[in-house]
Subunit: 216 residues, 2 copies
DNA sequence: ATATAAAAGTTGCACTTGCACCTTTTTTAT
DNA sequence: ATAAAAAAGGTGCAAGTGCAACTTTTATAT
């Protein structure tokens, strides 16, 4: 993940902080972040540590929405933070920078070179987050688990053009990512194995028909 | 939809065009846009007219991914354009402005006030697109049609705080938006009506239990 | 080293949903 | 004004999926 402060000197970062009137909060592992920082319209950056955006289901299930690591950005407009039943939990001791969105969008800022550099970095970061979200939408739009899996494989394949890739998370989390039931997903993975579409070795997934998969 | 050229004079827009080396293409109604503009990494704006991003399913179904109207932005990173089987069709005679993404991100641009204004507008537009996409993800993550509908109603309710709203599209398109089968959706709408959760009068949907819906 | 918890993997069953195929109503075009 | 097309609305049925309830394997903690 690119840093929002790329190409900025320490001095420029200090100036930026004061221009935007930022607040920096620290959180202990497992502490809730939102109650402290929540206001009308905010934009935040994880300076140190990591956190997770989780959604509390009406069944009491906690659904992982997004993993936030160092330099991740989140906020009212971006990411899944805009809902009542969302929660953000620090996964380690963390430091979070919070900016008022209106201050971020103040046209006066554009006078300052350091702001424009920062803003350009944010643009790039949000664009790539948006791209990832659109990938996920393409998967979630598929009605059947098999099609979701194949769409996911297709996206991974198109990134590397290799006939294998490594899951960046557990199978349980893959099921959450695809928004399907875990055991139903395994059932489908099993038939894809049986039909020699894929091989699974731990988190390594080999696409045996890579070229034909992206017909789907 | 905010204009990407807000707060810019005609002269500034001209300067911007030449700084970014933009191309402007015109398309007739029902013409395909992508073949003309497609390159490694682009960023585009609908200057006049309107278009639709559609995805060609392996069954031959055309799935509407996104409606683009005047001032809409789309491109390789944003929106659903980054896939092979995507297509963009002009719905009227249209004019499209195309920028090379690398030129857009050239740090030299930050010297020019008019660029920074333009860039700030883009930031805001993309942020709100991203917000919309995240709303949709929240819906698509729900496993059951009923929960998708209730999540959708909840989002609409939280926007206006009124116990009614008007569908911005047809029921057929609502089914596509929720990524569910149209008749299965109707079946679920019917039981929501029977259980006095909602009333439907054309495109007006009345939420009879608005406060309790967002428990879901 | 052992206990504990989490993830991986599997299966039966009931419920949900997609799909195909209708009818009726509304919209659009000529 | 009329025809044609699209949208709204509905239903039976088969296939797919969520869910619960397991076992086995792997990871984590003490």
């Amino acid at each position: 993940m690119k840093s929002p402060f790329e190409s900025l000197s320490k001095v420029q970062i200090e100036k930026l902080y004061s221009l935007l009137g930022v607040h920096i909060y620290t959180f202990l592992k497992n502490e809730e972040i939102l109650p402290t920082i929540k206001s009308e319209n905010i934009f935040a950056i994880i300076l140190e540590g990591s956190a997770q955006i989780v959604n509390n289901d009406y069944n009491g299930n906690e659904i992982l929405m997004e993993n936030l690591t160092k330099n991740s950005v989140f906020g009212t407009n971006i990411s899944a933070t805009n809902n009542e039943d969302c929660n953000i939990i620090a996964k380690e001791n963390s430091k979070v920078l919070v900016i008022d969105y209106n201050k971020l969008m103040n046209p006066e800022n554009l006078k300052y070179k350091y702001f424009n550099i920062f803003f350009s970095n944010l643009f790039d970061i949000i664009n790539s987050k948006y791209k990832e979200t659109n990938e996920r939408v393409k998967i979630l739009e598929k009605k059947q688990i098999r099609d979701k899996l194949l769409q996911y494989f297709d996206i991974e394949y198109s990134k590397s053009r290799l006939n294998y890739f490594y899951l960046p998370f557990s199978f349980k989390e893959l099921a959450d990512y695809l928004a399907v039931n875990r055991s139903a997903m395994f059932r489908e993975l099993k038939s894809l194995k049986d039909e020699h579409f894929i091989e699974i070795h731990g988190r390594k997934i080999i696409l045996l028909q890579a070229k034909s998969i992206n017909l789907i």
